[in-house]
């Protein structure tokens, strides 16, 4: 299913409660009251669909990319919040004198406490949820954040549905109530899938750490071997959520790009830089430690680009991991197409798998360009940051028209490179990129 169809389906789902309300044989109330009701219903529908935009569903993130999924999740949550915050303030109509007994044709509003309290609590909790989401990096450990975010979001959604079906003039109709219940059911199932079903599956598909070694400055290689199963089916360029030495039900997982190629065998290889809580201690992980893998994710795949005349890979720092996967797969497949790797680092101590890359350069149609922002004395390679002038020197007119471009690295670098490639005439659909932070 193409991404555009996915987005149309999203709109269809979000607008369904509104459409069913409009089709009811009830005379519309005043403009502001209808706007208030519409905003509340649309906001609640967006909120309920947020659960499947959590990034853990391959049918979505595999099509539009994990970073796109997560960014849309964050942005659409803001739309839902604006609609829901406005919802109570837009009402201007007359209050029902007999709470809970608003006849459909009275035009009065049902302010009965039974229907109102879930809405008020959900409205206040939503504010807290948003504040926690904005301050999550500073305030919480990742696993605590995931748990509180998921549980609070579910409480907000359930209270929102309760409010809509008790207080709402339209949502009390069975067909609309059924739609709300279905959306809430999907939200509950999505959490159940992520926090119960997947961990059970992961426990039955155990991995063991087969090797941990230092590759470069604060950068490690982690290898995982499947235990009692055939391993993972993945495409080069994809990534995995990994937890090591914890329960399969642990919420403490980290995403890492797979650096091995499927042709290398069942063992998975990762390149991990010390960047946070878990990664700072990656060097202490013992061989044989239990590991759980939730994968594959990500859309940084060359599938669909088989007719590209060549492949240009641009990596910044640990963004080399998916590029290694691609290069290893292309080498193993004896792919005759030319490939170019532009590999940016601060200094030579950060370069990983330098010898393997040099060997590829000798044995395959592969050009390697190192770019260092802090080069050592006597460095004869490229210096500075990966910018347009550098790209123009290595990517000729023919490549701009016929190659596919794969980018992975820190967001500022990706933005500069992507903008430069577009200005150089590369078509957007030939540029694949995935950044490794979402904000």
């Amino acid at each position: 299913m193409p991404a555009a169809v996915l987005f149309l389906f999203y709109l269809l789902v979000v607008c369904t409660p509104l459409a069913l309300a409009a089709l009811q044989d009830q005379p519309p109330r005043g403009l502001w009251d209808e706007l208030a009701t519409g905003a509340g219903m649309a906001g609640l529908a967006i909120l309920l669909v947020e659960f499947v935009l959590s990034g853990r569903f391959r049918s979505i993130s595999g099509r539009i990319g994990m970073d796109v999924t997560m960014r849309l999740h964050q942005l659409l949550a803001r739309s839902a919040a604006v609609l829901i915050v406005l919802h109570p303030f837009l009402y201007q109509g007359q209050q029902s004198l007999d709470p809970g007994q608003t006849p459909p044709d009275s035009g009065a509003l049902n302010f009965g406490f039974d229907g109102l309290w879930p809405g008020i609590v959900a409205w206040l909790l939503l504010g807290a949820l948003m504040a926690m989401a904005i301050g999550r990096d500073a305030l919480y450990r990742h696993e605590h954040w995931r748990l509180t975010h998921g549980v609070m979001a579910l409480i907000v959604a359930a209270l929102g549905v309760l409010h809509a079906t008790r207080a709402g003039q339209y949502s009390r109709e069975p067909v609309v109530t059924w739609v709300w219940a279905s959306l809430l059911g999907i939200a509950v199932l999505s959490l159940f899938w992520v926090y119960v079903i997947k961990p059970i599956w992961k426990r039955a598909h155990l991995w063991r750490v087969s090797r941990v070694r230092s590759l470069a400055d604060r950068t490690w290689e982690l290898r995982l071997a499947p235990e009692g199963h055939d391993g993972l089916r993945y495409a080069p360029g994809q990534f995995a959520w990994i937890s090591i030495g914890r329960s399969a039900f642990s919420l403490n997982e980290n995403p890492f790009s797979i650096a091995s190629a499927p042709s290398d065998g069942p063992e998975l290889r990762f390149v991990i830089k010390e960047l946070g809580d878990f990664t700072n201690h990656i060097g202490d992980v013992k061989t044989g430690a239990r590991a759980y893998v939730d994968a594959p994710f990500g859309a940084l795949k060359l599938a669909g680009h088989e007719r590209a005349a060549g492949i240009c890979l641009v990596a910044g720092g640990v963004g080399i991991a998916p590029m290694l996967s691609h290069l290893r797969a292309l080498t193993a497949a004896k792919d005759p197409r030319p490939r170019l790797l532009i590999y940016g680092n601060r200094h030579t101590g950060q370069i990983v798998h330098g010898e393997e890359l040099r060997q590829m350069e000798r044995e395959t149609p592969f050009t390697l360009v190192h770019v260092l922002s802090e080069p050592p004395d006597g460095w004869t390679g490229e210096t500075g940051l990966v910018r347009r002038d550098l790209l123009e020197r290595y990517i000729d007119e023919e490549a701009r028209q016929s190659w596919v471009f794969v980018l992975c690295g820190p967001p500022p670098m990706l933005h500069v490179v992507e903008t430069a490639l577009l200005e150089m005439g590369v078509l957007a659909n030939r540029i694949l990129s995935e950044q490794f932070s979402y904000d």
Partner: protein
């Protein structure tokens, strides 16, 4: 559209979805005002 960066495309998708929903809310609210 082929001339946008991925960040611009995400923003465009977001605004398209959000404005479509807002338009649906407005149409819903105004439905009593046309014959």
């Amino acid at each position: 559209m082929t001339d946008r960066t991925s960040r611009q495309r995400i923003t465009r998708v977001f605004w398209t979805l959000t404005l479509s929903v807002v338009a649906a809310v407005i149409v819903f609210a105004l439905r009593g005002y046309w014959p």
